[in-house]
């Protein structure tokens, strides 16, 4: 299992060289987005006939930011400094599977190279990773202060008032964000493999023949 340092923008070649189990230290500008953000992106940008005028500027901005970058499933605890700038206080990942209905479309539409979260995702996302050259990167759930330490700067925030602090799009610059590849662009998923092992052991413990 390799240890790889990646910087945004991430090339397709770099992403395709990653295998499940690799440790990745990610640097560059990424964007947080979770439940409200994914629903919004899909309903307002991807599945709607045209983007409303009021949302056009944010759409362009997200397209610019997300191409070759990663979206982070995270609802941070933030603090506003006296000069008005924001800081991340605690920033661990949230459970990703809730975005399964949306993630594949978001990867395809915005050209994401990485999805960061916890718990892994389902077959549609795994397929999208294969088709469009992306990986799922697992952050350590609950390691919020450690991860906040890797967030060096909060550049801006979108939809904070509408979605609330945890659900907003926070645009952040990270340095050496520690991650593990658990779904790669070759169709492998640690989550599927561990699930199969635990299923087998469960059947043994329950005394059911396999």
């Amino acid at each position: 299992m390799a240890t790889v340092h990646l910087t945004v923008p991430i090339s397709e070649e770099a992403v395709c060289s990653l295998q499940v189990g690799d440790t990745v230290y990610l640097s560059g500008i990424i964007v947080t987005g979770r439940d409200a953000a994914h629903k919004y992106m899909v309903e307002t940008f991807i599945r709607s006939a045209n983007v409303p005028g009021s949302e056009q500027a944010l759409y362009e901005e997200l397209r610019r930011l997300l191409a070759g970058s990663a979206i982070y499933h995270c609802g941070p605890v933030v603090r506003q400094r006296e000069d008005g700038r924001w800081e991340f206080v605690a920033a661990g990942p949230t459970t990703s599977i809730r975005e399964e209905p949306y993630q594949a479309d978001v990867i395809a539409h915005f050209g994401l190279r990485g999805v960061i979260g916890k718990g892994g995702m389902g077959p549609r996302t795994l397929q999208a990773c294969q088709k469009h050259g992306a990986v799922y990167l697992h952050a350590v759930g609950g390691a919020a202060t450690l991860i906040a330490d890797a967030v060096k700067e909060v550049l801006t925030v979108y939809k904070k008032d509408e979605f609330g602090v945890p659900e907003a799009f926070w645009v952040i610059r990270v340095e050496n964000l520690p991650l593990v590849v658990t779904m790669d662009s070759h169709g492998r998923s640690i989550h599927e493999e561990v699930q199969a092992v635990s299923e087998r052991r469960l059947q043994q413990l329950l005394g059911v023949s396999v």
């Binding site: 609802g75 605890v77 920033a91 350590v140 609950g142 390691a143 945890p166 658990t182 052991r201 469960l202």
Partner: protein
Amino acid sequence: MDLTEPIVELIRRASTDLPADVEAALRAARDREEAGSAAASTLTAILDNVALARARSQPICQDTGTPIFHIHYPAGTSAGKLRAQAEAAVVEATRRAYLRPNAVDSITGRNSGNNLGIGFPVFHMEEWESDLLEIALLLKGGGSENVSIQYSLPYEPLKAGRDLEGVRRVVLDAVHRAQGEGCAPGILGICIGGDRSTAYTYAKMQLLRPLDDVNPVPELAALEERLLRECNELGVGPMGFGGKTTILGVKIGAAHRLPASFFVTVAYMCWACRRARMEVKNGTVVYP
């Protein structure tokens, strides 16, 4: 006596530090995993994170969860005033970023911004004989709440009948289903019996027990020990990466049930089992 500030301190302690027994269990788990494995490096990151959060007095996890208060108060204390002070403390703890604003209006999707809302935070308040005022607080995150589960026995798919073997079977199933999604290695608070709502309350109360205590009911003590061993044989591992540690502790309680009902309720708690307690006696506040 205004307890607002002492309760802010209780919240700070719960959010920014782990109980010593939980941290010790995580350390023992790290030492059991193979060096260089994803499981070992994950547990190391968790322990580093706990130390950093404690040193900086910052939340261990960004999901500071649902604050669940269990308050026992002596006769003559106003429960209403206590509750108002605890609510004021929650608002202040949110302002100081010990808590993330976590109360979302289920109709509009709006976050109240201060952790107050309908049924939020959660209060269980009871008068007792003692002249001591005791406030226990559990901060329970959403990832672990979402994998918590309630079974109604008999449960045919697992051949789980209305006995302790049936309980064992559904609990193993619950841990398998959860995989890493509840932020494994987790802690299980289990209630056998009760009705659908009290069962979850009792199951979560089990999470207030220290990991190293022994259940006073011998059958339950034996089941706790067996389930801890067997859950770890599932091999889910920290964060679901595979490994020897899936669960850090199993705590089981029983409540009376209707003849017609037999619920087994599993309250899954993430590794960040943030519980804290304070006691007030003769105007003195201690955090034992």
